[in-house]
């Protein structure tokens, strides 16, 4: 094939390993100023100054695919409706529940129609379980009662009289066409296809507001916020009962119910979903390694990585220390026999995943688990850039600018005479590259004892690994040697703790933080630090803020 020479614009060249989808992007111009004066970070170095109380924005939230699935499970029973056909939810800032970008499409609406029909069909096959009347000849009174009871469960609040009337009309039309079950089936479909189910409509409770520009939410609206925050699912009967008695508007009411919900297994699904989004663990689904370089890799090994991290997170939060600090620096993890070999620990036997100490393994906490090490690496080598960037972005909540659009990203060829660190020397040798890469690479070098699969190594290309690194521009600056030392440093950093709180804000409220949220964020950070960084206490604190208890006053619409 012939290659013609064509005129090329002036192009700078930096050796780099950046390249994960969504990470590589435009210009470099921000870096110099970035390095000189870090941009304001609401969740960053200092706790935000609380200017004036504010609910922050209140974009309309629709049920995500995961929330929809859990909700159907909790309303109908497990395993009855297959929600995998819903299109994937739009992702922003790592989470797939950001209300500002969640869309509606033909595919989504078609699926909600099909799923409503499926739900209706499932219910009709076992109608006795759902009908409020035990009668041998169900009549319209039974239907009315069903509409009120089941409708209230699905829409998460008592129906208004006009809503009841509309559903009664649906029932009668269906009954005329196909009998009682046909009428009930259609009511079920309407309930599941309506905005009152698919969206979290919030109108406020109509009471006078003590918060300018915001309205307090009703008890039922708060019940919905609570259950989707704590369970990622619909309120249970007890929560709806509390709402019916209007016992949810005070902070202490919310705290009591939040603690009750945290006692349920469903809360574990939420902590799993949060950490998967925060750490980018869904990238494990697309993980692929070069089998020549890493013959040990297989999809089942990847599944073991995933299972280890999920179990570790769950155990730390629910059965052990319960803190971010422990997530980052715990000297234990959970292994099966494959992972035990991988990490070089003795497998004690006795089950799939068993707790082991990490004392002798040069590992501590999440950042040295193979799942994260393998995700933040290339297919055939480690990646100090990706690992450094991960720490900056996800743990310090700073966003280093991606390479400029006119820079060549030249993945350094594997060189049998050099270590990865040596191959990356160009970043710091070239002042153009160094402005940004000094923010990334010195952190990433700390992980060089772990190859692209997460295996421990003491040499590379026959040369001794140098895993010295440095943190700069943080509250924990200074040199360190290796990832365990880095993990301990991060675990003790108030700035990392504040970033973690900010991540929970984004996930818990389904939106990015704004300048208007300074008081809410400050209160959350205070609460987290007062409770010793306990994750469950942070979840409770999320229910106590102005952002949670109020919504921004809806814009008036001209008649």
């Amino acid at each position: 094939m012939t290659t013609m020479a064509i005129q090329t614009p002036h192009v700078r060249s930096c050796v780099s390993l950046l390249g994960l989808a969504g990470l590589v992007t435009a210009t470099w111009t921000g870096c110099r100023s970035h390095a000189d004066s870090p941009p304001p970070r609401v969740g960053g170095r200092a706790a935000p100054l609380c200017a004036s109380r504010d609910s922050g924005p209140s974009p309309l939230r629709r049920l995500t695919r995961a929330e929809y699935g859990r909700t159907l499970r909790d309303l109908l029973g497990p395993g009855l409706v297959d929600t995998s056909g819903l299109p994937p939810d739009e992702q922003a800032l790592g989470f797939d529940n950001n209300a500002d970008v969640l869309g509606t499409s033909d595919l989504l609406v078609e699926q909600t129609v099909a799923l409503a029909e499926q739900a209706s069909s499932v219910m009709l096959q076992d109608l006795g379980r759902f009908l409020p009347c035990a009668t041998t000849s169900p009549d319209s009174r039974c239907a009315d009662s069903f509409i009120g009871a089941f409708g209230g469960r699905v829409w998460r609040r008592p129906l208004e009289s006009d809503e009841t009337a509309a559903l009664q009309t649906v029932f009668v039309a269906g009954q005329n066409d196909g009998g009682f079950t046909e009428g009930i089936g259609r009511v079920v479909q309407v309930l599941f296809e309506s905005p009152q189910f698919l969206y979290r409509i919030e109108l406020g409770n109509g009471a006078a507001s003590d918060l300018p520009g915001a309205v307090p939410l009703s008890s039922h609206e708060l019940a919905t916020r609570l259950s989707y925050l704590m369970w990622g699912s619909t309120p249970d009967d007890a929560l709806l009962a509390a709402a019916a008695e209007d016992r949810l508007t005070l902070p202490e009411d919310l705290e009591r119910e939040a603690r009750r919900l945290l006692g349920d297994a469903r809360a574990h699904e939420v902590t799993a979903a949060f950490h998967a989004g925060w750490l980018g663990l869904d990238r494990l689904d697309q993980l692929d390694k070069d089998r020549v370089v890493y013959p040990a890799y297989s999809p089942s090994l990847r599944d073991a990585f995933r299972a280890e991290t999920a179990r570790f997170i769950d155990e730390v939060i629910w059965n052990h220390e319960g803190t971010l600090s422990a997530l980052l620096s715990a000297r234990y993890t959970f292994v099966d026999s494959t992972l035990a070999d991988f990490y070089g620990v003795a497998y004690p036997g006795g089950g799939d995943l068993v707790q082991v100490g990490l004392g002798s393994t040069n590992r501590a906490g999440l950042l040295t688990q193979a799942s994260i090490l393998a995700v933040y690496a290339k297919a055939n080598q480690s990646s100090p850039v990706h690992r450094g960037r991960f720490v900056r972005e996800q743990l310090f909540c700073t966003t280093p600018p991606p390479p400029p659009s006119n820079v060549e990203i030249r993945p350094p060829a594997l060189d049998p005479r050099q270590t990865t660190r040596q191959r990356f020397a160009a970043h710091t040798a070239d002042p153009f590259c160094a402005t940004c890469h000094t923010m990334l690479d010195p952190i990433g070098f700390g992980f060089e004892h772990y190859d692209g699969l997460g295996h421990w190594r003491t040499t590379e290309s026959g040369l001794t690994i140098d895993a010295h690194g440095a943190l700069t521009g943080t509250d924990s600056d200074g040199p360190f040697d290796g990832a365990v030392e880095l993990a301990d440093r991060l675990a003790a950093s108030p700035e990392v703790q504040r970033c973690y709180v900010t991540q929970w804000f984004r996930f818990g409220y389904g939106r990015a933080e704004t300048a208007a949220d300074s008081c809410t964020l400050g209160a959350l950070m205070d609460a987290a630090s007062a409770k010793g960084g306990d994750v469950r206490e942070l979840m409770v604190a999320l229910t106590q803020t102005d952002a949670f208890r109020y919504r921004r006053a809806p814009e008036v619409i001209a008649p």
């Binding site: 739009e90 099909a114 009954q175 009998g179 820079v407």
Partner: protein, 453 residues
């Protein structure tokens, strides 16, 4: 156990069981009815978009020669047999704004718009960006061509990945991206339904039930919208519009071509098709579904999105396997002969897939004996011209098909002076009989592309 008087069953037991899966589309009884096929006299126009990522190697892509007497370069070589059906367009410039090169490349490629503000962290100087600020050309075509078909349009993807603005090209309006279906299995279910055993009478009842339900649902949207603020109302209205559209389409009648056939459920590669090496197999299945959807007149507008901008695909299945990540390769300099060769072979492979799709459309027959391709227009585009500097100049556009005589093919249009690619989008609309004189951002458009018609 209670006994319930059910009256007349809506569906036979068998049909109810067959609808247990969450399948949306009702079966194609009348579409498959040969009586309908014979009755069809007007051949519908069809529009297809094909996207491939990360720019091209222009010197190995651009044809040489004149408008009507040209030779294809190595990348487009697989299209040789179809050259008389091609309109190759080079030299256009896709303007952009908001986000980074890839983001506004894919977001503006079909919309001719910039990106709105949003939370997708891309370029540093541009900061974060959001969705594109307008409708895309395929959806604009669908608004007209798709009014009577079962689906307004069909978006298919091949390992597209995360739902963010690096992975969305199609929009029904500002901030309203259209997600592609990445699973051939689900795409098949969407096209051909699951109530296979239902009788015509059953289906009529299903349709009546769905209509009555959707009516009531629309009533609820009306009631709720009256009580919420302006921002919430915009979102609810977007949803209600789709519900209304679905209801309208319950009565759609297909004008299937004689090549229409139910292809049967696709057989996925072992493991489900999610790995890098399954990329070609998934792509082939999606191509087949796209062609049959058009042939059966289930829709008249479709798109096929290969991966996403910043694609990480590794072309390990080529005769000389390429283990490097496509996007990494696309950043290497022009004087890296190895990289140029690999990128040429990657784009050559995509050209083979494009040739396969166009070839199938050429092989499918209309009722009057003409080719499906004759009334179709297929638009192959890329979010960039050049990968290593993210330039959207010299964007590599290939069109195929005559759009029912509106497009003269067998031509190569080479522009100088970087005319805006929005002009091409206008010409596409005109070829599809949509009377547009401008499209996308007004200042990026000066009218239809000269020499196109």
């Amino acid at each position: 156990m209670i006994v319930i008087k059910t009256g007349r069953p809506l569906l036979s037991r068998r049909a109810v069981l067959r609808t247990a899966g969450a399948a949306f589309t009702l079966p194609l009884l009348e579409a498959m009815d040969p009586g309908h096929a014979r009755a069809a006299t007007v051949i519908p126009k069809r529009f297809v978009v094909v996207f491939t990522p990360n720019g091209t190697i222009f010197p190995n892509w651009v044809p040489s020669g004149t408008e009507t007497d040209f030779a294809l370069a190595p990348i487009l070589d697989p299209l040789g047999a179809l050259q008389a059906d091609l309109l190759v367009v080079s030299g256009l410039f896709q303007q952009g704004g908001g986000g980074d090169g890839h983001q506004n490349g894919i977001g503006g490629m079909l919309t001719g718009q910039s990106l709105n503000p949003g939370p997708f962290q891309g370029g540093a100087s541009a900061g974060a960006s959001g969705w594109a600020n307008g409708i895309s050309v395929d959806q604009q075509v669908a608004a007209t061509l798709g009014s009577g078909t079962r689906l307004r349009s069909l978006e298919l993807g091949v390992q597209v990945g995360a739902a963010d603005n690096w992975g969305r090209m199609s929009y029904v309006g500002p901030d309203q991206p259209v997600p592609p279906e990445e699973s051939p299995e689900r795409a098949y279910a969407r096209l051909f339904g699951a109530a296979g055993g239902a009788s015509a009478e059953d289906l009529a009842r299903l349709r009546a039930r769905r209509r009555s339900v959707l009516d009531a649902v629309l009533g609820q949207f009306q009631a709720v919208r009256a009580r919420v603020g302006a921002a919430d109302r915009v979102r609810l209205d977007a949803h209600a519009t789709i519900v209304r559209d679905i209801e309208t389409r319950l009565d759609s009648l297909a004008v299937p071509s004689p090549s229409c056939r139910d292809p049967g459920a696709p057989s996925l590669p072992a493991g489900g098709g999610g790995t890098n090496d399954d990329f070609p197999a998934i792509g082939d299945l999606q191509i087949d579904l796209l062609v049959v959807a058009l042939a059966c007149d289930l829709t008249r507008v479709a798109s096929l999105q290969w991966s996403r901008s910043v694609s990480q695909t590794r072309f390990t299945w080529l005769p000389q396997p390429i283990t490097d990540v496509h996007h990494d390769l696309s950043h290497l300099p022009d004087d890296d002969a190895q990289a140029v060769d690999k990128l040429t072979r990657i784009n050559h492979w995509y050209a083979e897939r494009f040739a396969a799709l166009v070839g199938k459309l050429a092989g499918a027959q209309e009722v009057d004996g003409s080719r499906l391709l004759d009334a179709s227009l297929v638009f192959w585009c890329n979010e960039l011209g050049k990968g290593n500097n993210h330039s959207r100049k010299l964007a590599p556009y290939v069109l195929a098909g005559q759009a029912g005589g509106a497009v003269r093919t067998g031509r190569f249009l080479s522009f100088t002076g970087d005319p805006p690619h929005n002009n091409l989008l206008v010409s596409i609309l005109q070829a599809m009989d949509i009377p547009a004189t401008t499209f996308g951002k007004a200042e990026w458009c000066t009218g239809p592309l000269s020499g196109f018609a």
